[in-house]
């Protein structure tokens, strides 16, 4: 067991909109140790990205508003940090890879300008221009891009999607952060390119011993890539377990439904999916937010929000079915 790096406790975030408040995050819990590779899975709109942005404190506020909870990074609460302290966190500790590399890179600056800016920032201006450039070239070489000197002169539009995402990875890792948050890093890429990028990312974080949170909706990617998985539904963490354990023995009815709905290569047909859709955040259902769609819901589920029950060592599930 390593040292605890990040701990999110009961995080609640609302968004004020015309006509009320969207209660988006409703009790997010996440604990990770140094060097761990953690997966955060859930469907569109379940609050994965909001969680990630809360950790980096880059959620637009307003309309966003933290209603409660703590985000402890090395035992210091990120939510209570001032701008200066946050700048240190961004420069040295946490970096993020976004889903769409085209939107994450500025189209009017060259790759070199953007990458060297990041390196300069994270080194507290202690490097000479030559050293910065050397590091930039090294960073591009790390992500197996050919001819790095030329790429530094290129604009994002001159590169393919897979290359752009590799630049974003290079940029995130060049700062030598302790924690990397990768938000759907391969969703916009083709399957063979996704495979390349994930393999590369895996090798790099292993080599640099970076702790990683991989956010994705693809269960397959999580299975191949992470050591521990957190499953989110409608703003709450519903289940967490070691990756192998979770895929062998999913307990929450939502996790089970999700796993059954994934088309399998074995070709035995597809289960029926999950009835209904994600709730309206303006007026979410009381109790367990999954109960209107849950095939096994009973009375308690409609009234109380389930706490975490320990199903097994390291396997927790927020569902009254496992209360005993």
């Amino acid at each position: 067991m390593g040292k605890r790096l990040l701990e999110i406790k009961n995080l609640q975030v609302n968004f004020d909109v015309y006509g009320g408040s969207l209660k988006v995050l409703n009790g997010v819990h996440l604990t990770m140790e140094e060097g761990e590779k953690v997966g955060l899975v859930g469907e569109t709109g379940c609050g994965k990205t909001t969680t990630a942005k809360s950790v980096l404190k880059i959620l637009p506020m307003p309309p966003g508003k933290v209603m409660g909870g703590e985000i402890l990074f090395r035992d210091a609460d990120i939510l209570k940090m001032n701008d200066n302290e946050m700048r240190q966190i961004h420069a040295h500790e946490i970096s993020m890879i976004f889903q769409d590399p085209t939107a994450a890179l500025n189209p009017v600056f060259t790759i070199g300008q953007q990458l060297m800016e990041a390196i300069k920032y994270s080194s507290d201006n202690s490097l000479s221009r030559k050293e910065i450039k050397e590091q930039a070239v090294g960073a591009l070489r790390d992500v197996s891009l050919p001819d790095p000197e030329r790429i530094l002169e290129n604009y994002p539009i001159q590169l393919s999607g897979g290359m752009r995402q590799r630049i974003c990875i290079a940029m995130a890792l060049a700062t030598r952060s302790t924690l990397l948050i990768a938000d759907e890093p391969t969703t916009s890429l083709d399957v063979t390119i996704q495979d390349q990028v994930l393999r590369l990312l895996g090798a790099l974080v292993r080599e640099k011993d970076t702790s990683t949170i991989l956010i994705t909706h693809s269960l397959g990617v999580v299975r191949e890539w992470t050591e521990r998985v957190y499953v989110m539904y409608a703003g709450s963490m519903v289940e967490t377990a070691g990756t192998e354990e979770l895929f062998k023995n999913p307990l929450h009815p939502y996790t089970q439904g999700l796993m059954a709905a994934v088309p399998k290569l074995t070709g035995k047909g597809i289960a029926s999916g999950i009835e209904g859709r994600i709730p309206d955040y303006l007026d979410p259902p009381p109790g367990c937010r999954f109960h209107p769609r849950c095939p096994r819901a009973f009375d308690t589920c409609k009234k109380e929000k389930p706490p975490y029950f320990d199903a097994d060592a390291g396997h927790q599930v927020a569902c009254f079915l496992y209360k005993d």
Partner: protein, 321 residues
């Protein structure tokens, strides 16, 4: 093979751009038999949608032939008969943009019924309710607008609209790639049920091979405007021949050990998909191919049939047919 409902022969669609000619579809040949689902798989830019749009008549083919029920239909939509348009329908990838947000579901569904004069005006609402029932939606959905319903329900509406003209052939252009898996499962099952019930033939386009395994009767793989392999689904997944197919299959992230065993031995995916403006000479895959031989960068391979019904376009198999 007389029961082929749609046949494409050496279909080509080239686009002229400032940077050169884009050979989006470059000699595509396949046949789709009645009541089957042909899966067309490929990565972005491989020309899957171009083939679909050419079949629909949205694009005029540069050359080649398209036969539908034995008749030549290689022409634009504007020059096609109403009868033909009624018989071929399409469901697009993104129901958010394929349904007009300013119209109610009823107006959206009424249009094809009106244009093709399917039922008299007095019985339209009844017909719309019937179509909605077919896609398992309640009849009062017709009073809603696309923005007020979920993504999965929108796609159901798009399917119901395609069914409105009672077609025999439907092109499904990545119908579930914009949706979550829990919703996708429902739509796929619905499509399979409708196919049996109404004797439909599908051309199913996707980039998701696991989905294809559960949906298609035969699978065709496209790479840079050309088909590299066609086989029945079972054969395709148990005995993939083309190196690109093997690379694709070994790249799929799967959720169980049982599936892991079905994947070909890990072939490390390498290289980028070349730009379709600048297709490499010889076999277009040779730059990324792990089994490249001398001839590959010079001569474009021909389609061969190593086993009956299993076609592959690769020099490695040219001797074996």
């Amino acid at each position: 093979m007389n029961n082929e409902i749609l046949t494409a022969q050496e279909l080509k669609k080239h686009f002229h751009t400032n940077r050169g000619i884009v050979r989006a579809a470059d000699g595509v040949s396949f046949g789709i038999r009645e009541c089957e689902t042909l899966g067309l798989v490929g990565e972005s830019g491989s020309g899957k949608s171009t083939v679909a749009y050419t079949i629909m008549g949205i694009y005029q083919a540069t050359s080649g032939d398209l036969l539908f029920k034995g008749k030549d239909i290689t022409r634009e939509s504007a020059k096609r008969s109403k009868k033909l348009k009624q018989d071929i329908q399409i469901v697009f990838q993104d129901p958010g943009s394929s349904l007009n947000p300013r119209r109610s579901i009823r107006q959206i569904m009424d249009l094809p019924l009106n244009v093709h004069n399917i039922v008299p005006k007095a019985r339209r609402d009844e017909q719309i309710a019937k179509l909605l029932e077919m896609v398992e939606l309640p009849a009062d959905f017709m009073y809603k607008h696309p923005l007020n319903i979920g993504g999965g329900e929108r796609q159901m509406i798009a399917i119901a609209r395609a069914l409105a003209t009672d077609p025999s052939f439907i092109v499904l252009d990545e119908p579930t790639s914009a949706l979550d898996v829990s919703v996708q499962a429902k739509i796929i099952n619905l499509l399979i049920d409708l196919q049996k019930e109404l004797n439909l033939t599908y051309l199913f386009i996707t980039h998701d091979l696991s989905l294809m395994r559960n949906m298609a009767t035969r699978v065709a793989i496209m790479y840079l405007g050309k088909i590299c392999e066609i086989a029945t689904t079972a054969e395709f997944f148990s005995k993939p021949l083309h190196p690109y197919t093997n690379m694709l299959l070994s790249s799929i992230p799967v959720v169980s050990a049982e599936e892991e065993d079905l994947k070909p031995k890990k072939i490390v995916s390498q290289g980028e998909i070349p730009s379709p403006v600048n297709v490499p000479p010889g076999c277009s895959f040779h730059l990324r191919c792990p089994n490249r031989i001398d001839i590959c960068d010079k001569v474009d391979p021909k389609i061969t049939e190593p086993e009956p019904g299993h076609q592959v376009r690769c020099h490695l198999f040219e001797g074996s047919s």
